[in-house]
């Protein structure tokens, strides 16, 4: 049974929301100042997109066509509000960092897009795989981008790990460069665009190499 695996890989790589579809860029660029911030928002988005996909898929037969969009919006808003409350209760410091961007997950078009384009037409297992794939794809880009910007901007990695994993994780922070300043550009918004561009270019490079291999060229377009 390869279908769920394909759906998963589709979201994670072929149609990665951050690098290929370029959806949800606002939180992607604003929050990715550190790896932990990126991971926090990535996990929140992953939870919401997975739950949305599963619920939309499970209810797809008894939902009237006209009701689809209001239902999706209601569902996503509910889930995001729930995630927001959970973050406030258990990851309070991280919530303070991510601020407005948790409620703004509602507006992440990847979520509505997958609900409409995929989950409303496919069985639950496939939709689950699709949701996890896209969610992880998005979270992965957030973590990579956050890691890059943190490394160049602050000279550290995993700064603030205790906000996500509890006080015991404070020692996880890796300091590469004991510097107060770092490369300022990486912390500023333009740095986010540059880093994202680098990642997109890197991904394009990787797929082009594969595409160049014979007999695989057709299967890469999706």
């Amino acid at each position: 049974m390869t279908a769920p695996v394909d759906s998963f890989r589709h979201g994670l790589w072929q149609a990665n929301p951050g690098l290929v579809q370029l959806l949800g860029l606002c939180p992607l660029l604003a929050v990715s100042t550190t790896m932990i911030n990126g991971l926090g928002l990535g996990l929140a988005t992953l939870a919401v997109i997975t739950a949305t996909n599963v619920l939309v898929s499970a209810t797809r037969h008894w939902l009237h066509q006209d009701l689809r969009l209001p239902f999706f919006v209601l569902l996503i808003a509910t889930l995001v509000t729930g995630v927001d409350l959970i973050f406030q209760a258990w990851f309070f410091d991280l919530h303070a960092n991510l601020g407005l961007f948790i409620p703004l997950i509602v507006t992440n078009c990847v979520i509505l897009g997958r609900a409409e384009a995929f989950a409303s037409k496919n069985p639950v297992l496939l939709s689950l795989a699709d949701g996890v794939g896209h969610g992880l794809g998005f979270a992965g880009v957030l973590v990579l981008l956050g890691g890059l910007r943190e490394l160049f901007g602050r000279g550290t990695l995993l700064h603030g790990a205790e906000q996500l994993f509890g006080p015991g994780a404070a020692g996880l922070e890796i300091v590469f460069l004991q510097s107060q300043q770092g490369l300022l550009l990486a912390s500023l918004p333009p740095g986010a665009f540059l880093a994202l561009a680098l990642l997109v270019a890197l991904r394009n490079r990787l797929t082009r190499d594969r595409r160049a291999a014979p007999a695989r060229s057709a299967s890469q377009t999706s």
């Binding site: 009701l67 209001p70 209601l74 509000t81 209760a89 912390s187």
Partner: protein, 215 residues
């Protein structure tokens, strides 16, 4: 309306009610935790600017006097009071510097009953990373220069940057930011000196959820 439509509306209403119910349940489960989190976050910030914790035994984050004074900012701002067995020990004023480089800068200024500054910290700012963010303690020690200062230590011209003829260094590359903070702190301390007695007047103190917590 057709029967189909009626059914559709009924489903949507039912879904909305389930969603609202679920959220209400979640909210009731998390409300207490969130309230304690917020209260503790405020306390953690206040501790940075208050005297040593053994010098007060109330919960200053809950002993709040709302103050509306031009010297502090053009909105109603909280003043937190620390007491030892009911006797005033220190206050933490919230002050807004309206003239930061990018935007206003929100500060807390701890002042003990001698009129000496026990600490100044930045609550919120949008100053330039790498330059103006030196007002944060994790970026530079600049803001510690206020510790121990008293309003009457210096002539009023002393509450300014050295380059303006005053007594405070400025952050390299962030003169405007530094100037805004010095001015806001001096206004706050001045305000404290003029209103000391009134700042400790009682207000209805809400129940204290942290009383049993270790200080």
């Amino acid at each position: 309306m057709s029967r189909d439509r009626m059914r559709a509306v009924a489903i949507l209403v039912a879904v909305a009610m389930v969603a609202a119910g679920g959220l209400a349940l979640l909210q009731s489960q998390t409300a207490e935790r969130i309230r304690i989190n917020e209260s503790q976050r405020v306390l953690a910030k206040l501790r940075d600017v208050l005297p040593a914790p053994n010098r007060y035994n109330n919960a200053p984050q809950l002993d709040v006097l709302p103050v509306n004074a031009d010297a502090l900012g053009d909105e109603t701002l909280p003043v937190y009071r620390a007491r030892l067995d009911g006797v005033p020990v220190a206050t933490v004023l919230t002050a807004v510097a309206p003239n930061g480089y990018v935007d206003e800068i929100r500060l807390i200024v701890g002042v003990d009953t001698d009129g000496g500054i026990t600490g100044v910290r930045v609550l919120e700012h949008r100053e330039t990373p790498g330059l103006g963010d030196g007002i944060q303690t994790d970026r530079s020690d600049w803001i510690l220069a206020f510790d121990g200062r008293r309003i009457d230590d210096l002539p009023s011209t002393g509450w300014a940057l050295r380059r303006d003829g005053g007594d405070f260094d400025h952050l390299t590359g962030a003169t405007i930011t530094s100037r805004a903070v010095v001015k806001a702190v001096s206004r706050a301390v001045q305000y404290y000196a003029e209103n000391e007695a009134a700042l400790f007047r009682p207000v209805d103190v809400p129940a204290n959820p942290l009383e049993s917590q270790p200080r």
